[in-house]
Symmetry: C2
């Protein structure tokens, strides 16, 4: 049966079960997304403060067959938080469910509500001398519920895993309005199907996450950061292997930056201090966190010396202070902002098998060159085989000069990724942006299973319709 838009009558039904404070104006920020591809619509915006109220909203929507679009920090890059067409939905903001419910330092875990902002979660972990390792550039506004719903990645996946790996349990409202109380504080629990990992990464299409038990890690005794200049992505991979050989799991992040990113930073954010006089072709940022008895700067020195001997690196800098570390990271974390200011024709969040990275970078450049005169900024989480591969107009041109080429660029690059056994969405999710890609490149048996699961758990199809799977 078809979905129906929010009506005044439906809003009245919500008013009967929700306090007045739960209703929000449908401000512009709810209807925009960071890349400006879509404008959203909302029949009504509600921000409940309890899981019971979330359940009331979902149950009412399920009865009335009104779509529900969950909304976290609004930072998603694939349009999962935006409903551009179809019947106007309930926009369900989790912003007011933002409590840190409990912290258990002895158990290395905490229980937080879906609306908690990532940097607040970081602070709560730091306050008890622990680490919540998930970290992304938008940490000041991204919320835990959205990070889990999209299985966010970021800079520390190499060592600590992604959002899924860092979650032990969930509280969620399922599409029929039932509350699943799954906030266990257990490292091992083999009682039935993994509903947790099914909701994580389902981008709000199978229910709404309202709270989570998050894993914390012990804070390493010492941390250090280095920039090392490598000749090629191949040399970067060898450096990664050497770093792990030296430091084991002590390698927390291993990020690759191309010269283009540093050029863009120089052009758009000239106040940012650049570490090398001439931007190197390829730079690696290595972050380590080590146990007692090891000095991070010494360990990075030793690694650099060995890498120099092996001909893998030609230059490097090791941070000598926390401020210095921060300045290295600032460089890496401001690249997306520089990209935004330059204006990409097309942005890609891809992964390939680790050893295929150099080949992908070579072939990707050929694919793009065949399509026209473009600049490529390729950077990201080399240690995870995950690159952000962004295509820009030549100097003097703008993204608008190339709008008609965007689809061809996307197709050519995604075909290449697929041929290499990669993923066209490594860490950002599918949202509404990559529904076609999923149909094109997804395994047919898996897609059929996904559709069956969606129909089984959400037979009315109210949850975030049009995201992940075609509505």
């Amino acid at each position: 049966m078809a979905l129906t838009a929010v009506t005044p009558d439906f809003i009245n039904r919500l008013r009967a079960v929700l306090p007045e404070t739960a209703f929000r104006e449908a401000d512009a920020h709810y209807l925009e997304e960071p890349r400006g591809r879509w404008s959203g619509q909302a029949g009504v915006v509600v921000a409940p403060q309890t899981v019971e109220h979330v359940a009331e909203v979902i149950a009412a929507a399920n009865t009335a067959r009104v779509p529900v679009v969950p909304y976290g920090g609004g930072t998603g890059l694939v349009g999962g938080q935006i409903c551009p067409d179809g019947p106007a939905p309930v926009l369900l903001s989790l912003a007011r469910m933002n409590a840190i419910r409990a912290v258990y330092p002895d158990e290395n875990l905490m229980i937080v509500e879906a609306g908690a902002i990532l940097s607040d979660v970081h602070d709560a972990a730091t306050a008890c001398d622990r680490l919540y390792p998930l970290s992304i550039a938008s940490k000041g506004s991204a919320r835990i519920g959205g990070l889990l719903a999209t299985n966010a990645g970021g800079v520390n996946v190499l060592r600590y895993g992604n959002a899924r790996d860092l979650c032990l349990g969930l509280e969620a409202v399922l599409p029929d309005g039932q509350i699943w109380h799954g906030l266990k504080r257990l490292r091992k629990d083999n009682t039935g199907y993994d509903l947790r990992d099914l909701l994580i990464g389902a981008e709000g299409t199978l229910g709404v996450i309202t709270a989570a038990t998050l894993r914390l890690a012990p804070r390493p005794a010492g941390e250090g950061t280095a920039l090392m200049v490598v000749d090629s992505p191949q040399a970067a991979l060898k450096l990664l292997a050497m770093a792990r050989d030296h430091l084991g799991e002590g390698v927390s992040a291993f990020e690759l930056m191309h010269r283009m990113g540093l050029d863009f930073l120089a052009e758009t954010l000239p106040d940012l201090r650049q570490p090398f006089e001439t931007p190197p072709e390829w730079t690696v940022l290595i972050d380590v966190g080590l146990a007692r008895g090891l000095d991070p700067a010494d360990a990075l020195e030793a690694l650099f010396a060995d890498a120099l001997k092996a001909g893998l690196v030609s230059d490097g800098m090791i941070a000598q202070s926390e401020a210095h570390r921060h300045s290295f990271w600032e460089l890496r974390e401001q690249i997306p902002e520089a990209n935004r200011r330059i204006g990409a024709v097309s942005s890609h969040d891809i992964s390939v098998p680790l050893s295929a990275i150099p080949d992908f970078i070579d072939k990707g450049a050929q694919v793009i060159a065949a399509l026209g005169n473009f600049r490529i900024n390729c950077f990201g989480h080399l240690g995870d085989g995950n690159l952000h591969y962004n295509v820009f107009p030549a100097p003097g041109h703008s993204r608008n000069d190339h709008l008609e080429q965007r689809d061809a660029i996307k197709r050519a690059l995604h075909d290449l990724v697929d041929e290499m056994g990669g993923s066209v969405s490594a860490e950002h999710g599918v949202g509404r942006l990559k529904v076609d890609d999923l149909e094109r490149y997804g395994d047919p048996a898996k897609l059929a299973a996904m559709r069956a699961i969606k129909a089984a758990l959400d037979p009315s199809g109210i949850m975030n319709p049009g995201a992940v799977l075609r509505a």
Copy 2:
């Protein structure tokens, strides 16, 4: 529609699509399980050698509505591999799909078939200087498919996670006979629902895993093992916190052993050398794997010295050789065999929040004492909050004297676990043994979702009927 038993006609249909070599006699070992609770039945036993042949079997069974019971190493402890009643099934052995398909040391992963034996996987990892960290006592016969289907745990979960955490991708046959080709070599892949983690832990009820991409870890530069004597489980927890403070993720295993286990070893395996003259009330086995620059024995010495100063330990031994390490581990790994020889009235695989462990041990003893005169052997993976809590008759009595009390013991202990927010199946799974427990203690919303998923993916109900969910 009801399931039907294997018929001669159905076997003929299998003969039309499978080579003769795929058929096996229904030997006794296929119809027994380690704890001797059930006898199984099999209409036919097949052991295909390719995923295509597995798909033929499942498709034929789906058409004929014949049950299929997947069979790995037969080491499962909850009866998931046994069909004691109902229509006689196809017993689908994965034993002949046992190839190590490929090893990628540079990517820290390997692709293996479901029938590969765990110790063979260990050897293949060692051969390329890597570690596949999953390790359990039955590693010489347990097969990867079964380990994944039950999301096995073991002694290294504290550091490396369980079977689910160590898997990057799957090849599987879904209940309609479709093959899911999901053997990606990717650390990050956010393209759709997590079918991988849904099949892992589903105990063969949602499909058959035929191959997996397994994560490998760098082999630590140095490893060490110590036994430390603690006064109480509370002191053991404080020692764990101190060990992590000293060594971070370097702590690979943290196992608790009660005096009863050492007594049982002395009684049943007298040739095993006991490290302490008088078996201590509580002993902790600590295993560490450290990066370059740290000496494991020195690190364990330093930990012991600090723990002694803090009053946490009263005695200890640090292994001085690989043989010595092995003898410490032998002690821990032979406890299940000693238990078997003594004969438990009731065995429990439970987890509780880490900080609740001492309270659980206290209250558990009270619960059991109220039911009669029993001995308790409580041991296991303290670092994961996972205890094997086994109840034995008093000296001079046998398990058969107490068979009528078994249900009451189980109920009382599981009620306690549930009250404490724990799990009645931490690492062994549900199988057929704990279907009632799952119904009693499981979250109703999660159970409803599980049933909906089962009906959606396996509408005929052919896959391992009666395991996990009531058939």
